[in-house]
């Protein structure tokens, strides 16, 4: 029983005023050992692991807007590791493992719900690709199987198995697939980091990066300059423009990614369902809302505006999969800005600038990697720049060597 809630009713004070999760804002110091800019899930997760596991607490996370207000707020909260490459599967499986224990790790309920993720195959080529993904997943300890339409009907009785005359041939059933309250992930990490001494500075925008003799010495902000021993950029959509401020380029293109949500209804859908051919995925949150996401916008834009053509195509796909959705009320449509790489894998680790580390290229696949990203970036800093094995495949230099880690087929709905 949640006896911990008793204290809220028995106290005269307004709840959470006394033991607020985040400390009140402080002045920005002139120097920190570590400056992380981008106060989303990845940024605060890195600060958390630095503080808790490496004793590095002279850390500032700078966020130009509000905590987790970028893509952490805008994603559709899908956590999975059913990828295609061994490098990808190892990496995302490690993240899923961390997610399973995360609420208890930082003492904040992220409502982590391992309900399973189902991707539908409508062509023979997709069935073959799914078979390969299932085998790679299982090789690394994941729970992923190729299942037939009979089993799909048992898992999701409400699903139309012949949507838009593209009959479902098989499904990639990933039992490890889960959903969580995406904002709570950022809040939990921020709480854990700031309670251990890291500082979070919102409404603080990095306007420039100071580099001397090939090494970063600090950043310029709208609140004055800040010196730093190490700088990490973790800004998602605007990764490329920010990297240019540090004097180098990133092989990224920024596309909006739109999503939408309905008014909440009583539970009817347990697994997360995605269709590769319809470019649409649907899931029901713990609050009862139906979240609908799909493929990226058709042309690059550093803007989070939504559009009607995508709304129409996404909703018609969703209604094909679940015809009764036609009677639901749509509450909201929004977008995030996704920095896409050509191989649909992230860019993590060292940059051409010494002590300036990159966490970028997260495109449409960043939320599920939040914990493992925070952990590995913290290891990178704590070891003085030694790149952890798990993220070595994602180094920036892989493009110069044509060593891409091709995960395009495993993004659930993009292709």
């Amino acid at each position: 029983m949640p006896f911990g809630l008793l204290k809220y009713g028995l106290s005269k004070d307004y709840p959470f005023e006394k033991d607020a999760d985040l400390p009140a804002p402080t002045a920005l110091k002139r120097r920190y050992d570590v400056v992380i800019f981008g106060g989303g899930g990845h940024g605060v997760a890195t600060a958390y692991y630095l503080a808790k596991y490496h004793g590095i607490t002279d850390v500032a996370v700078l966020e130009k807007g509000y905590l987790g207000g970028g893509n952490t707020a805008r994603n559709t909260a899908v956590i999975r590791s059913n990828y295609l490459t061994p490098e990808g599967v190892k990496f995302y499986s490690a993240s899923v493992k961390l997610y399973e224990a995360l609420s208890n790790e930082f003492d904040f309920n992220i409502m982590y719900s391992q309900r399973g993720q189902l991707t539908l195959a409508h062509t023979d080529a997709t069935v073959r690709a799914f078979r390969q993904r299932a085998e790679v997943n299982k090789h690394f300890g994941g729970q992923t199987e190729l299942i037939d339409p009979v089993d799909i009907a048992k898992l999701v009785p409400t699903l139309n198995l012949n949507p838009a005359n593209l009959p479902v041939l098989a499904g990639l059933w990933h039992k490890d697939g889960a959903t969580a309250r995406h904002d709570a992930v950022a809040w939990g990490y921020a709480k854990g980091a700031t309670q251990r001494g890291a500082e979070l500075h919102q409404l603080t925008e990095v306007t420039g990066v100071d580099v001397k003799s090939g090494r970063v010495t600090g950043v310029d902000t709208n609140r004055g300059p800040v010196e730093a021993g190490v700088v990490i950029q973790a800004v998602a959509g605007h990764s490329a423009p920010m990297a240019r401020k540090a004097g180098f380029e990133l092989p990224l293109v920024a596309y909006p990614l739109q999503a939408m949500v309905t008014l909440p209804v009583k539970p009817f859908l347990t697994p997360l369902v995605s269709s590769s051919a319809l470019h649409c995925y649907v899931q029901q949150t713990s609050r009862g809302e139906i979240v609908i996401g799909g493929g990226s916008d058709p042309y690059p834009l550093y803007n989070s505006r939504a559009s009607l053509p995508l709304k129409e195509s996404l909703l018609s796909s969703a209604v094909e999969m679940f015809p009764f959705l036609s009677e639901m009320r749509l509450l909201r449509q929004w977008a995030g800005i996704t920095d896409m790489t050509t191989d649909y894998s992230p860019i993590m680790g060292l940059s051409p600038v010494e002590n300036y580390y990159i966490d970028a290229g997260w495109g449409t696949w960043g939320f599920k990697a939040t914990p493992i990203c925070g952990k590995t970036m913290a290891e990178l800093v704590a070891s003085g720049g030694k790149v952890p094995e798990l993220i070595k495949p994602f180094e920036l230099s892989r493009f110069d060597r044509f060593k891409q880690v091709n995960e395009m087929g495993a993004t659930a709905a993009s292709h």
Binding site: S103, N109, W187, V265, K266, S286, G288, F324
Partner: protein
């Protein structure tokens, strides 16, 4: 029946008509032009829904026509605004999100223990020991959500069409009506989009200039009738004007790049491309949370 007896009101309903639907299994007598909410009020049903978390009694608390406290369930659809849903024969309407009955919702015990369940309480509990959320989540999921989806509903036929104009005016109240007339008189092709079945907006129910402090009944009547004449003159001028295309019972629910406006009209989506847009949606009443 609780209807205002004053001759001033009731322009939108036909007193000689009869519409019958059910609410929570009870037969409701309504009139043509009623919304489900107005018909329920006329039949003394003020309790129409329960609040999301604490299950507090809710019913129409504003007159804006899209009061979130009137979310009800029909046999086809969950989360329907009763004060926007037209009363029709054989409609089967129920409340949402209750245990037992709407009237005696057993879940209102959550309100009695509400002091232990402040905003965001679920982030602070239900996860220790590790794994216990798997036990709580189904319970929380059942408690959350408002209406119930009818899983056997088939997607109905809806169509789409395009429209073009020079100036789109969104909202057919006093500001929108005036804007449309001015623009059309200057030669523009105008599209006027109004959510309700009737033009006029606030002019339909406000007595502009009436001050209760120095009131007596005849003074209110006179002010209201003046407002009504102004309304009728504006509406007639707009409807007669060849340069204004009026969309009634049409909701424009977004503005997209380069003035691309989706207009929802029952079973049709009109995709309107305007050169310029005027937002004249007016004010909506929203009550303080309680």
């Amino acid at each position: 029946m609780k209807r205002l007896s004053n001759d001033l009101f009731g322009q939108w309903i036909d007193p000689s008509s009869a519409v019958r639907f059910t609410f929570e299994g009870q037969a409701i007598k309504a009139l043509e032009g009623d919304s489900v909410a107005s018909a329920l009020l006329a039949n003394n049903y003020w309790l129409q829904s329960r609040s999301f978390k604490y299950h507090r009694p809710r019913g129409p608390l504003t007159l804006c026509g899209h009061d979130a406290n009137t979310l009800v369930q029909t046999s086809k659809a969950p989360n329907v605004l009763a004060d926007h849903l037209s009363a029709e024969n054989d409609l089967c309407v129920k409340g949402q999100n209750y245990t037992g009955s709407l009237q005696f919702d057993l879940s209102r015990v959550l309100d009695w223990v509400g002091r232990f369940l402040p905003v965001g309480f679920y982030y602070k509990a239900f996860f220790k020991p590790r794994g216990i959320w798997a036990y709580w989540e189904p319970i929380v999921r059942k408690a959350a959500g408002l209406g119930v989806s009818n899983l056997s509903v088939e997607a109905p036929y809806n169509d789409k069409t395009y429209a073009f104009c020079d100036i789109a005016v969104i909202g057919g109240g006093p500001a929108g009506l005036n804007a449309a007339l001015l623009a059309a008189n200057a030669g523009a092709q105008v599209a006027l989009i109004e959510q309700e079945a009737h033009l006029g907006g606030a002019l339909n129910y406000h007595a502009f200039g009436y001050a209760p402090s120095n009131a007596n009944e005849s003074s209110y009547e006179a002010v209201y009738e003046t407002t009504q004449s102004a309304r009728n003159a504006l509406v007639q001028a707009v409807e007669a004007h060849e340069g204004i295309r009026v969309f009634r019972s049409s909701t424009c629910n977004a503005w997209f790049s380069d003035h691309y406006l989706p207009i929802l009209q029952n079973k049709r989506l009109v995709k309107l491309r305007a050169k310029q847009t005027i937002l004249a949606t007016g004010a909506s009443e929203q009550h303080v949370v309680f």
